[in-house]
């Protein structure tokens, strides 16, 4: 077992990505994500990789597009406003069926917002970051260890399904420090026969493209892509459950807010309230199957988020009215406290007795 080290979430993502074989990073500084880029600037040259601070987020994502087309493991990172700027490029990458990793260390929004932690880009991440018919796999780590593990595995998922993958973190996870056991560096990477590496007159040329002049052809690629999405939905859902088996109230929370919800659920149990935590680890695909399994048993659901209520939509789509789905959130960079969430759980519990 590798020795544990103390790392910030931002650093853990960066180091893990390098160990997963990522050798190209294109980005632009923005708080609270900057350590990720700074870490890459320090480490990439030592691994023979490329760190490049682009002239803008738009340039950075198009560099990712190019490197991915050429078969490289490549990533970019930013925070909310910067991710919005990348959206056109992400759509092109999805349209060209190319793999890459995009990191969003969210801050308060909309607009320039605040530099404090937030989860208000849930809709943007899960409903499609950019125009057109596409989705991408979105991971929501809740510990620094999970940031390292998911960043490491994200490149495999991206390559396997030829899709952009996002890690949706927030300023709290990015900035906080926890012990981490880093994964072993990858020695072998998957073949990419589709990469534009030069045909050398030995094979048909490969093309990376998202422009289709014949509507039926574009429709066909979209149909094919959505068939792939069905496979992703069937195979890649991830979630964690804590004390859900006998729970009356299931608190659903992801990322940093799940850490707060976990404390609140533990405190509720100590008071004799049957509460449980359901934590989506993939936000897309949403862990519908696991959450569905709790429907009919739990008497109420509570979605806890650092936004005005976004994931609660997905919870309601799964629960389908079988039980009330309540929401508690703070927004704009304000972090809910375990005590606030506990109060909400108590209120719901009192309502159950009526």
């Amino acid at each position: 077992m590798a020795e544990k080290v103390l790392m910030k979430g931002n650093e853990a993502i960066a180091e893990s990505a390098i160990r997963a074989g990522c050798r190209f990073f294109f980005g632009y500084p923005i708080t609270p994500q900057t350590e990720l880029a700074a870490y890459m600037a320090k480490r990439m040259p030592k691994e023979g990789g490329t760190y490049l601070q682009a002239e803008s987020e738009v340039a950075a994502i198009n560099m990712v597009y190019g490197a991915s087309a050429a078969g490289a493991r490549v990533m970019t990172s930013s925070s909310s406003p910067g991710v919005s700027l990348k959206s056109e490029g992400v759509s092109y990458i999805a349209g060209a069926d190319l793999p890459c990793l995009i990191i969003n260390i969210e801050r308060g929004g909309p607009g320039l917002g605040s530099i404090q932690p937030s989860q208000s880009d849930y809709w943007q991440a899960t409903r499609a970051l950019g125009h057109g018919d596409f989705q991408m796999v979105v991971y929501a780590p809740s510990t620094v260890q999970e940031m390292a593990d998911l960043a490491y595995g994200a490149f495999d998922i991206a390559d396997k399904y030829r899709t952009p993958v996002m890690i949706l973190g927030d300023g709290m996870l990015g900035q906080m420090m926890e012990p981490v056991e880093l994964p072993e560096p990858r020695t072998e990477l998957p073949e990419k026969p589709w990469a534009t590496t030069g045909h050398g007159n030995k094979r048909e040329k490969n093309i990376a493209n998202s422009l289709y002049l014949v509507a039926e052809e574009l429709e066909k690629t979209n149909f094919e892509r959505f068939e792939r999405y069905e496979v992703i939905k069937a195979n890649e859902q991830m979630s964690e459950e804590v004390d859900c088996e006998d729970a009356d109230i299931i608190v659903v929370a992801f990322g940093a807010s799940s850490r707060i919800a976990r404390s609140a659920v533990r405190a509720a149990r100590e008071e004799g309230i049957k509460a449980g935590l359901f934590r989506p680890i993939t936000l897309w695909p949403f862990p519908t199957d696991a959450l569905k399994a709790t429907v009919g048993k739990a008497k109420a659901y509570l979605s806890v988020e650092m936004n005005m209520g976004q994931m609660v939509d997905d919870v309601r789509l799964v629960v389908e009215g079988a039980a009330p789905v309540d929401f508690y959130g703070r927004t704009g960079g304000v972090i809910p406290t375990p005590a606030e969430v506990l109060d909400k759980i108590r209120q719901i519990n009192e309502g159950l007795g009526e």
């Binding site: 544990k4 080290v5 103390l6 790392m7 910030k8 650093e11 180091e15 708080t31 609270p32 350590e35 320090k42 605040s114 530099i115 404090q116 300023g171 709290m172 900035q175 906080m176 420090m177 926890e178 012990p179 850490r259 707060i260 976990r262 404390s263 960079g333 972090i335 406290t337 375990p338």
Partner: protein
């Protein structure tokens, strides 16, 4: 148990706390400030971290004021504001200049050479008086795990701050997962750094639960003040 003698003697009217980003400087500084009050000193804590607005001493105002500590915070650090602008207050220089006697100043410096640049502006005021510059070492912090990396980091900090380090403190920890072995490995590492820099290792920090064990260095028991909202 308070501040051990070796560390207490290494402190001066003005004490700067420097080190690699994220080793535990702020938690150490806050503990030091509170314990110095316990020793009967009037303490001013200057938060000079203007490179990273997260987990810095200014967030601890309530705690510090409860202990009668005067906090000098960066201009935009408080009243809920997080404006990411490196701006220093006019209160810093007078606080440094009036240190002495019963008045102690602790300066919690930002990480690495980048964070130490802000010290350089005050170097001549600091040098004019009696100062200590303590470098906090954490053997378990990524990127400074080899003693030579820690030495290089300290040299960069000295250049940026235009001051020389005077003592080392080991703060080897893995947050809640800190064990006796972690502390011991940290001390071995800190001694190597101390030998390479020709600086004294004046204390090893430990969580309160590990103070019963004896090590061949003075122990300084640290409370965890700098923490995540759910801890």
């Amino acid at each position: 148990m308070g501040i051990p003698n070796g560390l207490l003697e290494a402190l001066k009217p003005v004490t700067l706390v420097v080190g690699h980003y994220g080793v535990g400087k702020t938690n150490f500084s806050v503990n030091l400030a509170i314990d110095l009050v316990g020793q009967g000193y009037e303490v001013t804590l200057i938060d000079l971290d203007i490179v990273n607005p997260y987990f810095r001493a200014s967030e601890q105002r309530k705690l510090l004021e409860e202990h009668g500590i005067d906090l000098v915070a960066p201009v935009f650090a408080e009243s809920g504001s997080s404006l990411d602008v490196p701006s220093l207050t006019g209160r810093i220089a007078p606080a440094i200049e009036t240190a002495g006697g019963n008045r102690r100043v602790i300066i919690d410096v930002g990480g690495d050479d980048a964070g130490s640049v802000a010290v350089g502006r005050y170097a001549r005021f600091i040098e004019a008086g009696d100062y200590a510059m303590i470098c906090v070492l954490n053997r378990y912090r990524n990127l400074v795990q080899a003693p030579e990396d820690a030495v290089e980091n300290l040299r960069e900090i000295e250049v940026a701050s235009r001051l020389k380090a005077t003592a080392l403190v080991s703060d080897a920890h893995l947050k809640a997962e800190t064990t006796r072995e972690v502390v011991e490995n940290g001390v071995v590492y800190a001694r190597e750094v101390a030998d390479a820099c020709d600086l004294p290792l004046v204390a090893a920090c430990v969580p309160p639960c590990l103070t019963k064990i004896s090590y061949d260095v003075d122990l300084y028991s640290l409370k965890m003040y700098v923490r995540s909202p759910w801890e």
